[in-house]
């Protein structure tokens, strides 16, 4: 019961602040609401006993990516954007398309009231050492993908520096 209440609080927070992200006029406000969404999602991770991912979400997303976003929002001119229209011309078509997408996905998931129909699995003892398990998986089964991800980050770093450089010569 307490678990369900916590889940409802976190998910409502995530959804409501996500709606605020896409409707605010000021990009700084959008970034702040996105931070709220990310915190709520990290709460969802904690509820699922994914403690390592909870820490990664807060450190990397909220601490890293959002600070980067705020820097760039401050760099580009927000005063002009405040006076302009928020939504593109095709927003009605886009809204209908997205609602249709949600309806199709919801219908498929609802499945005549059966839901996903996943067989109930008894909750064996909660994995006490989530971080250890994730670390073992990362450095044993997924060693090559980790290396590729590190190369990807290097490429992204070089690409970002080249893009933001003042002049290409």
């Amino acid at each position: 019961m307490l678990e369900l209440g916590t889940f409802i609080i976190f998910s409502v927070t995530a959804l409501v602040s996500a709606v605020f992200v896409i409707t605010r006029r000021n990009a700084v406000h959008s970034a702040i609401w996105l931070t709220v969404t990310l915190f709520a999602v990290s709460g969802i991770y904690l509820l699922q006993h994914a403690e390592f991912l909870f820490a990664v979400q807060i450190i990397l997303y909220v601490g890293g990516i959002m600070v980067l976003f705020l820097f760039v929002v401050m760099l580009v001119d927000i005063d002009v954007a405040l006076k302009q229209a928020r939504f593109a011309r095709q927003w009605q078509v886009a809204l209908v398309t997205a609602i249709l997408l949600l309806a199709i996905v919801g219908y498929a998931l609802y499945n005549h009231g059966q839901g996903l129909n996943l067989p109930a699995r008894p909750m064996v003892n909660a994995p006490a050492q989530n971080t250890q398990a994730v670390g073992m998986a990362l450095y044993q089964n997924y060693m090559l993908p980790v290396e590729i991800a590190s190369v990807l980050l290097l490429v992204a770093m070089v690409g970002a520096v080249i893009m933001a450089k003042r002049k290409l010569e």
Binding site: L4, I22, V41, A50, A94, A133
Partner: protein, 100 residues
């Protein structure tokens, strides 16, 4: 114990909000933020199913998704800075040089 279905529903709701943001907003920065919302929805699904199958593989994939999100944000924001320097705009519908 919360049913896995609830997490999947939450993920699809967050995904739809992100799609609406990408399709309707003009500001490129907010389009990038909506992409972050979509990636978070994917992560919720991955973690929920990893918890259901009692395996950490889904969580490892979620970590790779977060890595991709970091790379994408860095390159995307660099592109936005370059764009703003050249065109003096951050509106997606004013960047139409290649549009016929």
């Amino acid at each position: 114990m919360i049913p896995t279905d609830y997490y999947i529903f939450l993920g699809s709701g967050l995904f739809t909000i992100g799609v609406i943001g990408v399709l309707t907003r003009r500001n490129v920065l907010i389009i990038l933020m909506s992409i972050e919302l979509i990636l978070n929805a994917v992560n919720i699904n991955l973690v929920a199913l990893s918890q259901y199958f009692k395996s950490v593989d889904g969580q490892v994939f979620a970590i790779f998704v977060i890595t991709d999100a970091a790379a994408e944000a860095a390159v995307g924001l660099g592109l936005i800075i370059a764009l703003f320097r050249n065109k003096e705009t951050v509106n997606a519908d004013e960047i139409d040089l290649l549009k016929w």
